[in-house]
């Protein structure tokens, strides 16, 4: 591409920016986008990996596998919900700073964007179907019924993930948008194609399901082992599978990461050998090393660190992924999100961070404490006075939030 063609692409992207601007500094949105994407993809990986455990168990007669499969489908079910709800956040932030790229990519594949919604609902329902077919059974080692529904669910989830992947990849090719819109000189308004993808990149993000689920299994043993009715043979089995998955999975992911870096488009310049390009790969392989060293034997403390460590690795990779986007769009096409117009709005910016910290912090601390303790208790769990107080505080903070919402509203309205 010559300089003039690049300048045309730059102009086009700047023209597409929303003239309303942003209510605060763009870097804040990008940072939140990276953080929430790392969490999103962690739960996506968990849902895929735990489904895989359930699927493997369904086709394997080993009684311990069977039990593990039954337990993991529970995790999968919740992980889908969490992946979806957390996915909303990066969806919000990406279209704030990268609206020219995100919207164009979506419109040009609109049929797929709509299919995404329908397929995801079907995928989730298929998973629930499998669950309801089996969850009431006393004998967790019997062969599960309707195994096909789990296969359907996983296949659809992979399609859904691929659509996401393609949409993010298309964002990185502004030089091709025009040719996708008017294919060989003939306009195409149908949005019926996915135009760009990178199989290595997709395989990499999906493959991380293996080490992440390994981390889940290690955590599972640690969590359940304190229950008075714990079956240690079973739990140790789970942890051993987990450690193997971390090791083998990290190596597979590392190889795929290298393949992704080797297949970057020319517009990425020398990202693959840059600091972030290398760090992402080191992070992935580093996870296997960490696990080899820290998860030996019972690993009472570090077993609880397995998932947080996976999130840290995820954050490194998410940062690399974001820097790659910046390098292509800014480095090659001179589109710099830092210079997005700002129409500063302190109130709404402040309200978000306060809500996030106070409401989110107090409620989730309470919720997770309850869930955690209840999961470790045989029979009915009755919280201590402190935990009860946490609940009361959370309720009050929420009520105050509501009062604030209407008080400010009426004040503005009456002004």
């Amino acid at each position: 591409m010559d300089a003039q063609q690049i300048a045309q692409v730059t102009d086009m992207m700047y023209a597409l920016r929303n003239p309303a601007g942003l209510p605060t500094y763009p870097i804040i949105f990008v940072a939140l986008g990276v953080l929430t994407f790392a969490m999103h993809i962690l739960f996506v990986q968990l849902l895929l990996g735990t489904s895989l455990v359930a699927l493997y168990a369904a086709y394997n007669n080993h009684p311990l596998w069977r039990r593990l499969g039954a337990a993991m489908i529970d995790v999968a079910k919740v992980s889908v919900s969490v992946a979806i709800v957390i996915g909303v956040a990066p969806l919000l932030f990406v279209q704030v700073v990268y609206d020219p790229q995100w919207y164009t990519s979506n419109v040009l594949s609109a049929d797929w964007v709509i299919s995404f919604i329908i397929l995801l609902i079907l995928a989730y329902w298929a998973m629930y179907y499998f669950y309801f077919q089996n969850y009431k059974r006393e004998d967790k080692t019997a062969q599960p019924k309707s195994r096909w529904s789990l296969i359907v669910s996983m296949a659809l989830m992979l399609v859904v993930g691929f659509i996401m992947h393609s949409l993010t990849t298309q964002m990185l090719h502004p030089e091709l948008w025009q040719s996708w819109y008017s294919n060989q000189g003939k306009l195409d308004f149908s949005g019926s194609q996915l135009h760009a993808y990178n199989p290595w990149r997709f395989a990499f993000f999906i493959s991380m399901a293996i080490p992440v689920t390994g981390a889940m299994l290690v955590t599972y043993r640690r969590f359940k082992s304190v229950r008075s009715d714990a079956d240690h043979t079973y739990l140790n089995f789970a942890a051993e599978v987990g450690k193997k998955w971390i090791l083998v999975g990290s190596i597979i992911s590392f190889v795929l990461y290298v393949a992704w870096m080797a297949s970057l488009p020319e517009t990425a310049g020398n990202f693959a050998t840059s600091f972030w390009g290398i760090l992402g790969g080191l992070g992935v392989i580093g996870y296997a090393l960490w696990a080899q060293i820290r998860l030996r034997g019972e690993a009472k403390f570090c077993s609880y660190m397995a998932l947080p460590m996976a999130l840290v690795i995820g954050l490194i990779v998410a940062t690399s992924r974001e820097v790659l986007r910046y390098d292509i769009l800014n480095g090659f096409f001179n589109y710099n999100f830092f210079d997005y117009k700002i129409v500063m709005d302190w109130y709404s910016t402040g309200l978000f961070f306060l809500t996030f910290a106070l409401v989110g912090g107090s409620v989730l601390a309470y919720f997770l404490t309850i869930a955690w303790k209840a999961g470790q208790t045989v029979g009915v769990y009755t919280p201590s006075a402190t935990v009860n107080k946490m609940g009361t505080v959370a309720i009050w903070i929420m009520v105050l939030w509501m009062i604030q919402f209407f008080a400010v509203g009426f004040y503005i309205w009456a002004k």
């Binding site: 929303n18 309303a20 209510p23 605060t24 704030v96 964007v113 978000f352 919720f367 919280p383």
Partner: protein
């Protein structure tokens, strides 16, 4: 460069992109309002279960909660972002305007979403595994969080119709855009509707209760809830109509389908009758009946309501400054936003659109139909489908056998000047208006097949010309070399 923020257009020939959005939105409203209503009902029941030490109420919550989780939460939590996705492809600047003004509001709502999602699992799975008091607390938090998501989104929805306060245009500021009379009335209206939905959908679960006394008690509770909510909602709707712009009322009076009024009244009466019957005779409440009611409300009540909301905003799609066809048609000094109409008037729509293919930037005999189609897709297709079906199909608005000259006059005289209240002002250069007219007439006569054939012909000729030109250049080059 005189480019404006226009994206490619997505065109869905069967129902039209607008209806795809409306379908997903309707479904989402059903699911989400039911969920929020149920959350408040759970808070109440769990509180009662704690006070009166009753296990049956908690069992009810578990049963209803599981049912809701599979249907409304799964579908609701996916169709929620689904609305973003669908509006993104149908109306990128509409959603972009909302996102850029309200990103933090949505982010705030998201905090409550996360609480909701964790909460629903806890409410269902912790029945019998934590003490009643803890369950009550979780339910109360869950209820308030759900309500919070609702009040936040209503402010954004109201902005779609119009900014909260008129001063927003001059001063900007998120608060001025968010809060207004319309916002508060709509909040009340939606809350009422949400309880109606809860009462109806709750019936599906109550129907399966075995113990007659408990069934009667629950039927009564839901019945009263439903009756009060429905009547309040109807009153709120009347009040709501007084708060929308006159323009919207005008569009509504003239342009809504005939069946709208009748259908709304019928649904209202039917819903009330349903509650009264089931209250008087709880044994009539069976799952089929309750399910049937839910679907009826969906089809006969919600769908017209959602489509009405869509039509009433015309010609705007967001904040009374972004047109449905994505062009910004009004200055908003408070946000530093300028109308894009002057640029289009200056250079024409083909030059102003960043995605106009190179071979359509300048009009000539060889690209008229392609350019006409491009303009129709850009300017009209959001409100008028160029196909046989879908939203307000274009061909219905032009008489059969209309001439290109008459259509061109109409376009130049009426559309480019913005003389019709419910349509945007759509500036075009004369040659652009001619191209649009040529396309419209062809589309009127032969429909899509004729258009496709004409475009294929244009492309073929262009390519032939290109080949000839290349050949001549080559000959010229050879001759040059020879000399």
């Amino acid at each position: 460069m005189d480019l404006i923020s226009l994206y490619p257009t997505w065109y869905e020939p069967t129902v039209g992109s607008g209806w795809v959005v409306a379908l997903i939105a309707t479904f989402h409203v059903l699911a989400s309002h039911t969920s929020v209503g149920a959350a408040l009902l759970f808070a109440y029941l769990s509180h009662k279960a704690y006070r009166e030490d009753r296990d049956d109420l908690l069992d009810f919550i578990k049963k209803y909660g599981l049912f809701l989780m599979v249907f409304t939460y799964v579908a609701g939590s996916i169709t929620g972002p689904g609305i973003w996705y669908s509006t993104t492809v149908a109306s990128p600047n509409g959603i972009g305007a909302l996102i850029h003004s309200f990103v933090w509001k949505w982010a705030t709502e998201w905090v409550f979403f996360v609480i909701e999602v964790v909460g629903v699992y806890m409410i269902v799975y912790l029945v019998g595994r934590v003490d009643k008091r803890t369950h009550m607390k979780i339910s109360v938090i869950f209820g308030v969080a759900s309500l919070a998501t609702m009040v936040i989104i209503v402010g954004i929805l109201s902005f779609m119709m119009m900014p909260g306060k008129e001063v927003w245009f001059e001063e900007g500021g998120y608060l001025n855009g968010f809060y207004g009379t319309n916002t508060f009335i709509q909040t009340g209206m939606r809350m009422a509707f949400m309880f109606t939905m809860t009462a109806v959908v709750g019936g599906i679960v109550v129907a399966s209760i075995k113990d007659p006394a408990f069934k009667k008690e629950m039927t009564r509770k839901l019945g009263w809830l439903g009756i009060i909510a429905t009547l309040t909602g109807a009153a709120m709707f009347q009040w709501y109509l007084t708060s929308v712009p006159d323009q919207a009322l005008l569009v509504m009076e003239n342009r809504l389908p005939e069946y709208f009024q009748t259908s709304i009244i019928a649904v209202l009466a039917g819903t009330l009758a349903y509650f009264i019957i089931t209250m008087l005779r709880p044994q009539t409440l069976v799952q089929g009946f309750a399910g049937f009611m839910a679907v009826t409300i969906l089809v006969a009540g919600l769908w017209p309501e959602e489509t009405a909301r869509e039509s009433m905003r015309k010609p705007w799609v967001a904040g009374q400054y972004v047109y449905s066809n994505q062009v910004i048609g009004r200055d908003v000094p408070g946000m530093g936003i300028e109308s894009q109409l002057p640029i289009i008037e200056k250079v024409g729509i083909l030059q102003a659109h960043p995605f106009t293919p190179d071979h359509l930037r300048e009009l000539n005999n060889g690209n008229q139909i392609q350019a006409g189609e491009f303009i129709a897709m850009t300017y009209c297709s959001n409100c008028h489908s160029p196909s046989e079906t879908g939203i307000r199909p274009l061909h219905r608005y032009f008489p059969e056998g209309v001439t290109q000259e008459r259509v061109a006059d109409y376009v130049k005289g009426v559309l480019t000047t913005g003389n019709i209240a419910y349509m945007p002002k759509m500036p075009m250069r004369d040659d652009e208006a001619e191209a649009l007219a040529a396309y419209l007439v062809l589309n009127n006569k032969g429909g899509q097949p004729a258009v496709t054939a004409a475009i294929d012909l244009e492309i073929e000729q262009r390519e032939r010309a290109l080949v000839e030109k290349n050949a001549q250049d080559k000959i010229a080059a050879i001759e040059m070399e020879g000399k």
